[in-house]
Amino acid sequence: SDKTVKLWKVSERDKRPEGYNLKDEDGRLRDPSMITVLRVPVLRPMDLMVEATPRRVFANAHTYHINSISVNSDYETYMSADDLRINLWNFEITNQSFNIVDIKPANMEELTEVITAAEFHPHQCNTFVYSSSKGTIRLCDMRTAALCDRHAKFFEEPEDPSNRSFFSEIISSISDVKFSHSGRYIMTRDYLTVKVWDLNMENRPIETYQVHDYLRSKLCSLYENDCIFDKFECVWNGSDSVIMTGSYNNFFRMFDRNTKRDVTLEASRENSKPRAILKPRKVCVGGKRRKDEISVDSLDFSKKILHTAWHPSENIIAVAATNNLYIFQDKVN
């Protein structure tokens, strides 16, 4: 369910034991009185299988839907965040958690902002950030208080008055926040952009990347069909030089922070064969559409890439597109 946290052990199995004494190969129990010979079971190879077994269940600490889980750098604790609260857990203790952030107002009618994502600092086990539906990020230090209602830093970009509309707040809502591997930057994803923030500068991001700005003129329709509430994730590559996030039509985007180049790729079986190099895609925003371009009106908004991941050290990425998981890697020469 959306309010329980489970810890799973994921393991690979490529051998299985054969030759049990008390049960036959189908698993049926043998009659002990019929056994005349004892043997030692042996391990024989089998097809590789990945299995996940639940090892811990952390329940009953959340009233609202959990939006984030983040493991602390101490590997002993982790936090889970829902719309209004963030709880700190110890892996070994499943029936108790510490509440470290609580933004629930006394009168729920006064609720105007919720927590949307949270993450621990990659090295400092007392520091974490959480983002809100109003486009703000708060950095908190657990050493200052048990209940981190007061932030150590508050990141917010001033609103651009020329772009103001009734949808401004909705599209500023942050759907994901991620520390860089270095711990010096945070990246946030809102509906139309990805922003990189320097922890030392709270008043505006240092970089802003447009994911699909052509949707800015469609916000009304996207509000109507609820796509404007889609929550996209964003990820850093291992060296923090490239950032990636998903979009619609099974597209995902990568931005190189150094060269300032960006690319749009597609995760789709119809449009690329396995092991083939992905062809960059382009969305045509008006005027004449070139041969390989896709017009904004042809985009399929039911094909959204919300979840992406980047291997911490290799150039291997995972992209979730509807019911399929795609794994891509750098071309191997």
């Binding site: 959306d2 609202y64 839907h65 939006n67 719309d83 209004l84 009168n107 729920m108 009618e109 609720l111 105007t112 902002e113 919720v114 949307t116 539906s133 008055p161 020329s162 103001r164 509309s165 009734f166 949808f167 707040e169 909705i170 809502s173 800015r216 003129s217 469609k218 916000l219 009304c220 329709s221 509000y223 109507e224 069909n225 609820d226 796509c227 509430f229 904004v296 009106d297 042809s298 985009l299 399929d300 908004f301 039911s302």
Partner: protein, 250 residues
Amino acid sequence: MFVRGLKRKCFDGEEDIEGTLAGIKAVPSYNLQRQSLLDMSLVKLQLCHMLVEPNLCRSVLIANTVRQIQEEMTQDGTWQMINAQNTGQASLDRLVSTDILCRSSRDQAEGKHVPAYGTFNKDFESDQAQDGSETMSTASSVQAPRNLQSNMWEEMENPQENKGNFQKSLDQIFETLENKSPNSVEDLFSEVDNSYYDLDTMLTGMMSNTKMGHCDSLETFSSPTNTASNSNCKSDLNDLDHIVEILVES
């Protein structure tokens, strides 16, 4: 009150829509747009309320949007202009409002419409006369979010801010509506099938089957009622009349 019974197209980015709005003023006013957005938002909030596991973030964002619209309308004095005028004339404007709702901002940028706060006042004054008739529906709907919010967020017993008898009457209306059997609520959603859950399924179906610029699923959704759209509008209007009567009496 809810103009969802009609065939709608999302016109973002489409080149030319004037031809399809024959007989209706081709340039929609900012007030109409705003009203449509308000209506749509209220419907969304209502539906949130009906879900077993409502998405709090989404509800908060929609409620904030409604509040923004409401505040802006309060500043213009729009929502205070309640009058007992027959809604018949307003109906055509209202029916069209969702058609023009999704104007592209290309049009907006070209100055045909003025969605941004900064340039709003200019258009408002010129449209005030025309839009007066629609304000009562605005008035009846702006107060809805407070009640919806409180119900949705499980704080039903808390008294709401008192904006006078008007607020109370509206609360009573919505409470009554909620307490009635599904059939009477469905009168408001007159184009919808016979249960909450069908509406929900339909809308969920809409969400998972969307294509920009065509709103195919929306058209499918409303097409069985096309021939009956007039009577649906009438029942909408009857409800609106009823609500207005109550407001005026208070």
